[in-house]
């Protein structure tokens, strides 16, 4: 092996610095483009929510000519946000809680491998992801009518809980499987009942996974349009996505009001995500590698 001269080593060092610089710039550029793809529509939505209809069409991408703050008060009044927002919050909160808790129970049960058919059960629940909502909407309509739930929020809560299970079991299954078996045994010896073990040991340890499931399910439950359009057609049981559509007319649309409603509708979800980003990310990767 021949020793490198000082000049050679300097040349190599300079080349390595240039390569690192280039990779750094390329990476930053790529991330900037991705960020813009997310942030531009949000900025467009917020700006459009302050525009009048002529301003919206005359100057679709610029700042509002006059800031129409009353879009928000009108949206609150005309789109019945005062009704649809609480409805959406209640339906999403109860459904997220119900489906996450049930998914955790199922995932934990399946992870206790001594139960026969565990893999079959896991596949059965996760296969639910393959079923399109449009396919089940007619039987759902008939079932809800038969149960007499039309006009109540339960008409949305029950289907949402059921539809949230596949994703919940998919994410929580591997999380539950990586829970150390000795911890469960230790709790048994310590005198805990099965329910106490689940509540005091299993649930806290699955927390990152639970938060991921809650956010992922919460987003689609909050935004779901098709099911509430079919089964929650009464104004008092409508949710925000359906309420927003009331601004869209056959001949004219109050786009400023539509976007104001969308901003109000998006804000809570965005806020929740920002609050729990770290837990969300660790929940998605939990169980991916042996800890």
């Amino acid at each position: 092996m021949t020793a490198l001269s000082l000049a050679d080593r300097r040349r190599r060092g300079a080349k390595a610095v240039r390569t690192r610089l280039f990779v750094g710039i390329a990476r930053s550029l790529f991330l900037a483009i991705l960020s813009l793809m997310v942030l531009v529509p949000i900025a467009y939505m917020v700006l459009a929510s302050f525009k009048t209809v002529p301003d919206f069409f005359g100057n679709p991408y610029g700042l509002p000519g006059t800031w129409a703050w009353d879009n928000y008060s009108r949206a609150w009044r005309d789109a019945h946000i005062s009704i649809t927002l609480p409805n959406t919050i209640i339906v999403t909160a109860v459904s997220v809680f119900g489906s996450t808790l049930l998914a955790a129970l199922i995932a934990y049960g399946i992870s206790r491998k001594e139960k026969p058919f565990a893999m079959g059960l896991y596949t059965f629940f996760v296969a639910g992801l393959l079923v399109p909502v449009n396919m089940i909407v007619l039987p759902l309509f008939i079932l809800i009518k038969w149960l007499g739930l039309f006009g109540t929020l339960m008409a949305l809560i029950f289907p949402y809980i059921a539809l949230g299970l596949p994703l919940g079991v998919l994410i929580l299954g591997p999380v539950a499987a990586t829970l150390p078996r000795d911890l469960i045994s230790a709790a048994q010896v310590d005198g805990a009942t099965e329910w106490q073990i689940f509540r005091r040991i299993v649930l806290p340890l699955m927390k990152p996974g639970l938060i991921s499931v809650a956010i992922l399910n919460g987003v689609w439950m909050w935004n779901e349009f098709f099911i509430p359009l079919i089964v929650a057609f009464k104004p008092e049981s409508q949710t925000m996505p359906v309420g927003i559509v009331s601004f869209v007319g056959a001949y004219s649309t109050e786009w400023g009001l539509v976007f104001a409603s969308v901003v109000v509708s998006t804000a809570p979800i965005l806020f929740a995500y920002l609050l729990m980003t770290r837990q969300f990310q660790s929940g998605l990767t939990a169980g991916a590698v042996k800890g």
Partner: protein, 387 residues
């Protein structure tokens, strides 16, 4: 406090794999019994069956003379220390220790008092607010002990609680656990694969192999009177040297033919072993403990007919003594223990002797080895059982 009785305890997994086979044991109230054996011998499975964490295929577990087969773990009045410690990572040290009392709805003031007491005994007072993730291995081990002690159970079950500690800490914790057990006098069943733990901690040692109990006795008896070749080779480090040999002559003037060597067997050996005389003329297995072999140069008065001619191939000096390796041309007695590294050495036909610190032997030298023939061990060549 309670005695524990195992009656024909058996565990068979699907596929007819028998992990524990017909295990019967009587553990007295307050006794410290060590269950020892190589990996996969069924000792942990037996412990889990006692704890109620593993269903029993056949047999009975009795705690305080009551059959507990159908009892849940929480109803057996036991506490268990796990190999992994199994500390709840989301709880503080205080909550980990207090968990069983919280579950039992013990008043808060009483919980605080008892946790404080246990923390004082285990020197954990400064760590009660920490999470297990912020503790060292030894501290975690003490928390696991604290969690067991605080319940004041009838029986302690410990599943290799020291195996995750480094060597120095293991020695320290070994004596701490033994002292705690002597202080609280709770019946303890301690599982380990480490023979040093087994020999130093237990009142009695139960040795298992392939799910079958081989011998249960005091550490001294296990060492000095092994029931079979497996026990003989498992207990002791380096392990006992086992060779096929033949006894010739008669009781008064018996000779052990060990390959090309002949060793005079004192008549006193036969006095202790009634069946040995009948084996004269037959093949047997002879066991030589390394400490019963010595550099003959250090024992000039040792009888000439109790010496082996040897060629040293390796001398491992430990300061206090020397581990001297030399081949013997006798056939080996095979003992199946895949975990034992000593077995590999023995499998190569090498005998190990523990020579005194003053020995000057070097690798490559031809020497004479003095054999304490009155301390030889004899086993049946067909069954491997002690004679």
């Amino acid at each position: 406090m309670a005695n524990v009785t195992l009656k024909n305890l058996t565990k068979t997994y699907p596929g007819q794999v028998t992990a524990v086979d017909n295990l019967s044991l009587e553990i007295a109230d307050g006794e410290f019994l060590v269950l020892v054996g190589p990996s996969g011998c069924g000792k942990s499975t037996a412990l889990k069956m006692i704890a109620g964490l593993e269903p029993i295929t056949a047999g009975e577990v009795l705690i305080a003379d009551e059959v507990v087969n159908e009892y849940a773990s929480r109803d057996r009045d036991i506490a268990m220390v796990f190999q992994s410690y199994a500390l709840y990572p989301h709880m503080s040290v205080f909550d980990n220790i207090a968990f069983s009392l919280q579950i039992a709805k013990v008043p808060k003031a009483e919980i605080t008092r008892r946790v404080g007491e246990v923390a004082r005994i285990l020197q954990l007072e400064d760590y009660l607010r920490r999470k297990p993730g912020n503790l060292s291995g030894g501290q975690r081990q003490r928390v696991a002990m604290g969690r067991a002690i605080i319940r004041q159970p009838s029986v302690f079950l410990m599943d290799e609680p020291l195996s995750n500690l480094d060597a120095k800490l293991r020695v320290q914790m070994r004596s701490e656990i033994a002292q705690i057990q002597r202080r609280v006098k709770v019946t303890t069943i301690y599982v380990t694969h480490d023979q040093v733990e087994a020999m130093t901690m237990g009142d009695r040692v139960a040795l298992m192999k392939d799910g079958v109990l081989q011998q249960v006795d005091t550490p001294d008896n296990i060492y000095n009177r092994p029931a079979n070749t497996f026990v003989a080779s498992f207990i002791g480090s380096p392990s006992m040297n086992l060779y096929r040999a033949r006894l010739e002559g008669e009781v008064a003037s018996c000779t052990l033919v060990l390959g090309g060597n002949r060793l005079a067997i004192p008549a006193s050996v036969f006095a202790d072993r009634a069946e040995l005389a009948a084996k004269i003329g037959a093949d047997i297995i002879v066991g030589l403990r390394p400490e019963d072999l010595e550099d003959a140069a250090l024992l000039p008065t040792h009888p000439a007919d109790q010496r082996l001619a040897a060629h040293v191939i390796l001398n491992e000096s430990l300061g206090s003594d020397h581990m001297v390796h030399f081949p013997i041309d006798a056939p080996l007695a095979k003992v199946s223990d895949q975990d034992s590294l000593d077995e590999i050495v023995v499998a190569e036909g090498v005998c190990i002797g523990r020579f005194g610190a003053r020995s000057l032997v070097k690798a490559g030298q031809s020497i004479e080895v003095a054999v304490a023939c009155d301390r030889l061990h004899f086993f049946d060549a067909a069954t491997g059982l002690a004679i």
